[in-house]
Symmetry: none
Subunit: 290 residues, 2 copies
């Protein structure tokens, strides 16, 4: 990044703080589909960002251009230059870092993980698991291990907003046997177990299974021993250039599941509905500042 000219994208990001609300909205809209959106007519860009035309005109002047056409001209110059340059450079994720930089290597690997993980998933299993998690006739237990309890906690936090009858069990705590007392036939356990698989988790799974609970397992590509007991298992690829494993692919599955379950239970519990509406409103408020 030495003697290189700053791209418009860079300049916008740099000055993001000095912008007003409408201008920031616009800035994000430009960056969203950069540079395509800036190459269209001013009015289209304005509409896309939900701001008025003059706001666009003022913004490009703030960026140091005489007018919108001049701004577009530079965008086109940038584009020309980028297309001409050797491909390798913008084939990286973090532009400005060499492809050997860990940011790029790590991300490459994570994307591969996601591709493999999704490629191995049976959509029917997935849908079935979501329906099971959405079923409020039975209690839902969520179990994580030493590291995976963060994933479990993440699922729990969201499920808490979506449905009742839900418990977060920490297999690392020695209090977990108490939770099992109340388990009934048909109850559901979502269990996280990645290498190195934990004895406590396996024991817990066995006992839950013995009591007639149905098990949904999130594990890694080598599969926790729990998977013999599980009704449905999801294996994620988790290997990255690191001394530890990646939680990205399982998290992706998890978030998709949360979204699906919330879609399924839509309209159920009224209290939660209202809470959700409230959250939506707040989300919209945020949108305003986008």
């Amino acid at each position: 990044m030495s003697g290189e000219t700053l791209t418009i994208s860079d300049r916008i990001q740099k000055g993001l703080d000095d912008l007003t609300r409408a201008e920031r909205q616009l800035a994000h809209s430009i960056l969203e589909n950069y540079p395509a959106s800036g190459l269209g007519p001013l009015s289209a860009l304005a509409k896309d960002a939900n701001v008025s035309g003059p706001t666009v005109a003022r913004m490009v002047q703030k960026l140091g251009f005489k007018g919108y056409p001049e701004f577009q001209a530079e965008l086109r110059e940038e584009l020309k230059a980028k297309v001409k340059n050797p491909i390798a450079k913008h084939d990286t994720w973090a532009e400005g870092a060499p492809s050997e930089h860990l940011l790029n290597r790590f991300t490459d690997e994570v994307i591969e993980n996601i591709r493999h993980t999704l490629g191995q998933i049976d959509p029917n299993d997935f849908d079935a698991a979501c329906r099971t998690c959405a079923d409020t006739n039975h209690h839902l237990y969520i179990v994580g291990g030493r590291i995976t309890h963060t994933l479990a906690e993440y699922l729990f936090l969201h499920m808490q907003l979506i449905r009742p009858k839900i418990t977060h069990v920490q297999s690392t705590s020695n209090a977990w046997p108490h939770y099992l007392l109340d388990v009934e036939d048909g109850d559901v356990f979502v269990i996280f177990d990645m290498r190195r698989y934990e004895n406590n988790t396996l024991k817990l799974a066995e006992m839950a299974h013995a009591k007639g609970a149905r098990l949904i397992l999130f594990t890694d590509q080598w599969r926790s021993p729990v998977h013999h007991l599980a009704e449905i298992s999801f294996s994620s690829r988790i290997v990255v250039p690191s001394a530890w494993d990646s939680a990205v692919s399982p998290l992706l599955l998890l978030e998709t599941m949360i979204s699906t379950v919330q879609g399924l239970t839509w309209g159920d519990t009224k209290d939660r509905m209202e809470a959700l509406e409230d959250m939506f409103d707040q989300t919209k408020l945020f949108r305003k500042f986008t």
Copy 2:
């Protein structure tokens, strides 16, 4: 790859023989700097190709467009699609599920999030942040909010293995002011704050900053107000087809950071990990590997 539309470039090349002299001149000019030259005003393109305006107008009509603006619109659409990283382009992630299935839509969006997030990262900032987190001369505090505390916890769990002098502060708890008592000049705070930004987190950040602490912030694309105080900020794109936001991109950054920090401190980490393995063996928490 079935119903894919031909690009304008393809169409021009295909029909190159049926064109007249002036049109062929023009065609070559368009392909010369594709697609940049086609995105400028008609007159500029005409001048560039040494043909008249009407020739351009007729040519785009010959290509099947109603007019030059429509031609440009399609060029921009092409550009939009092209900018998306080829690796990210994937018809369906979960084979066996239609592309409208949430598994595929969600993953598409997450990949886009990753692309945007990485695209906006300054590798120098990233490296600097990693060095700061690896520096054991100062205490490292990790702060998360209501939802983000899972990310904070994840970082904490790994950092714990990598380095000493580390504390996980929960801004949601009302005990956090106690932690601030011991903060010294030069201590480091890694703070997680995504929308909706939490007042507690901001207050905590302000107080830490006032005591001379250095702040590293993980936030979303709209940036928590904390970023005014932060030495280094990382903004992740977090929007997915869901009522909630995605934690995938920030997690990816986090894991990359963990890996980098552990690389920086390898000698120490090794000892710590061995000691830890010993302790785990004694508690028989994990199963033995086969």
